[in-house]
């Protein structure tokens, strides 16, 4: 249930967040305030090494801030136990990375189904045939060719692999999709097609999209565009 202080329509809220890696003196993340409404498509631009991945790890509940609060979909991440954070991530967040998102030893459909393997919530939201739901997700992202689905994942093109990853991130309709440079390994056409499909699917499921990239040319089509350097004082200093 959404926390009253986070507001019913706030997907992500960071207040006075400080984080530094163990053994380093300087903060990697120093964000005073950040608030993203539910259903927003947010583009965060930042240079490589600017703390983007660290920010995503904080929101994903893999890391906890040294100070301040991180609230995601109404849950106070810092207040959860490590196990609850992992469960929360499994239930509510879909991740898409730069590349190599797929387990090489699983088939295309099984890779998508991984999302519901570790989350009963997402399995429940599918209500019924999980394999069918996974195939629907793949089809919505333009992957419905049976011979393609039967191929080992390493035999797919990078663009196809990223769409499989997106299908997994969207399976079971999580409230938040986090994409970390998902198009950097794609060529221009594949990139445009991927963005279009990703937007459409996030809109259909109502998921908030948090998209980070160093490439400002991708920013078109997003509801909001943020420079990481503007919100992260630590990033601005370095």
């Amino acid at each position: 249930m959404p926390d009253s202080s986070a507001g019913p329509n706030t997907a992500i809220r960071l207040e006075d967040v400080r984080f530094r890696w163990p053994g380093t003196a300087a903060f990697t993340i120093e964000i005073d305030s950040l608030r993203i409404d539910e259903g927003t498509r947010l583009f965060v631009r930042g240079p490589s090494g600017g703390g983007k991945s660290t920010l995503l790890a904080l929101i994903g509940g893999v890391l906890v801030p040294e100070r301040g609060s991180v609230q995601v979909l109404g849950a106070d991440i810092g207040a959860l136990t490590a196990g609850d954070r992992d469960r929360f991530r499994a239930d509510h967040i879909g991740f898409i990375f730069q590349q190599f998102n797929l387990l090489p030893y699983l088939g295309v459909v099984d890779n998508v189904l991984l999302a519901s393997r570790f989350s009963q919530r997402r399995a429940q939201r599918i209500r019924g045939d999980e394999t069918g739901a996974a195939r629907d997700c793949l089809a919505a992202l333009g992957l419905d060719d049976e011979t393609l689905l039967a191929r080992p994942v390493h035999a797919l093109s990078v663009g196809q692999q990223q769409r499989v990853a997106a299908a997994r991130a969207l399976l079971g309709e999580p409230g938040l999709v986090i994409a970390d440079e998902p198009t950097s390994a794609l060529d221009h056409e594949a990139r445009a097609a991927f963005m279009e499909l990703l937007f459409a699917e996030c809109k259909r499921t109502g998921a908030t999209l948090l998209f980070v990239s160093h490439d400002p040319s991708l920013a078109s089509g997003f509801d909001e565009v943020l420079e990481l350097a503007q919100i992260n004082r630590a990033g601005a200093i370095s």
Partner: protein, 421 residues
């Protein structure tokens, strides 16, 4: 946990070459261990069943193992003889059902010659209940008849009807032959896996007959020789024998008779229970088997180390995989379990493979091996010790999996979602 099992198996299959080699190494070591255990048990069974159905072995006073060694295994020499009178007196006791006298001391081309009676063929048992069978011919019916064991017949290429000469003493090359009184082979025994295979059996009277003209261990002067024809007319009852086997009317009387023989006032004698003496002897020989077992266990440990090394090496290339699992909500302990399950699966595969190899191999080969060596491998079915070995291998490979699993757990925690190389 079910998704983890599926993931672990698919991950193993994906790396089937390296995993297969680790499984193979462990399989070979497991089959070595199981094989040694099988051979150990079969050898023990074969050894301790060298003589069965006999209640007591009686000889001149000595240790039980020594008596067993010279009377049954034909190793070493008797320090003393048993007088014929004592033998007859004990044999005629009401408790005694049958006796088989044994007279040793001569040889034939390196094989021991044993003087005995036809009762041996009737009463001697080995491997619990097996009787002595004739491959060819029959038991002796004359003073100068002989029956040879399977190995003697095979090595020396003897058949029924062959004439053989017994040498005096048991030295490999004896210069004193009883060539004036040859024996004729009337029977060849089936292989038994006992020392009988390497023995030439002759009549007790025959042993007496070839020594009848000898004087205190020296051959007769040329003029004093007694030809075989006239020997037959003489009294060929021996003055003494080396030992004798006793079968009782009732097993319950075993200890009573044993004590009576050990306390026998006419002559210092020793009576032993074959089973007890065999176990005592095995305890001495058995250490070799223990050493073999220990060596095989070390080979299994080497196989496990190989598996751990393989899993540890795979860690660096699987960091991406762990980051993906973490991103979809797998907990660090899931990653830990993934590696433990993989190690356990390797252990199970290797244990089953090893068991299949050993028992399948035994099933296929036990018959020919038994015929060649006389050792009965088919008789020992997989038992508690084999189950224990299989369980131990699976258990220890699972435990060994904790090492890479812990490393993976630490890596998964430190890496989070991003792989920092």
């Amino acid at each position: 946990m079910r998704p983890l099992l599926g993931l672990a198996l698919k991950s193993l299959w994906n790396r089937r070459l390296t995993v297969g080699l680790a499984v193979l190494a462990l399989t070979v070591s497991v089959s070595l261990l199981l094989g040694v255990e099988q051979v150990r048990k079969a050898a023990r069974a074969s050894f301790t069943q060298t003589i069965s159905g006999t209640d007591l072995i009686v000889g001149a006073r000595s240790g039980p193992v020594q008596l067993l060694l010279y009377s049954v295994f034909h190793i070493g020499h008797a320090t003393n003889q048993v007088s014929w009178e004592s033998y007859r007196e004990i044999a005629s006791s009401g408790l005694v059902a049958w006796t088989v006298p044994i007279a040793l001391g001569d040889s034939h081309r390196g094989y021991r010659v044993m003087g005995t009676t036809k009762d041996l063929f009737e009463h001697y048992r080995y491997a619990r209940t097996r009787e002595i069978q004739f491959a060819q011919g029959e038991a002796f019916s004359d003073v100068f008849h002989a029956v040879v064991g399977a190995e003697v017949a095979e090595r020396l290429d003897y058949e029924v009807g062959r004439e053989i000469v017994v040498s005096h003493g048991v030295a490999q090359t004896s210069f004193l032959d009883h060539d004036d009184k040859p024996f004729m082979v009337t029977g060849v025994l089936e292989r038994t896996g006992t020392p009988l295979d390497r023995t030439v059996l002759v009549t007790l009277e025959g042993i007496e007959a070839i020594h009848v003209d000898w004087q205190q261990g020296r051959p007769p002067a040329p003029g004093a020789r007694v030809p075989p024809e006239s020997v037959r007319q003489m009294n060929l009852e021996p003055a003494s024998i080396t030992a004798f086997l006793v079968g009782l009317e009732s097993r319950a009387a075993t200890f009573r008779l044993q004590r009576a023989i050990n306390d026998y006032s006419q002559e210092p004698l020793t009576a032993v229970l074959p089973g007890v003496a065999l176990s005592e002897l095995w305890a001495v020989i058995g250490t070799v088997e223990q050493a073999l077992l220990a060596i095989s266990a070390c080979v299994v440990v080497a196989g496990l180390i190989g598996m751990v090394a393989m899993l540890l090496t795979s860690l660096s290339e699987r960091r991406r995989e762990m980051a993906i699992l973490r991103a979809i909500g797998a907990r660090p302990h899931h990653v830990f379990l993934l590696f433990v399950v993989e190690a356990a699966a390797i252990g199970i595969l290797a244990a089953l493979g090893g068991a299949l190899l050993v028992f399948g191999g035994l099933w296929l080969l036990s018959e020919p091996v038994s015929q060649i060596t006389g050792v009965n491998f088919g008789l020992t079915m997989p038992g508690v010790s084999e189950g224990l070995i299989v369980a131990l291998v699976i258990g220890s490979s699972t435990c060994a999996g904790v090492i890479p699993a812990w490393k993976a757990y630490r890596t998964a925690l430190a890496d989070g979602l991003a792989v920092r190389l």
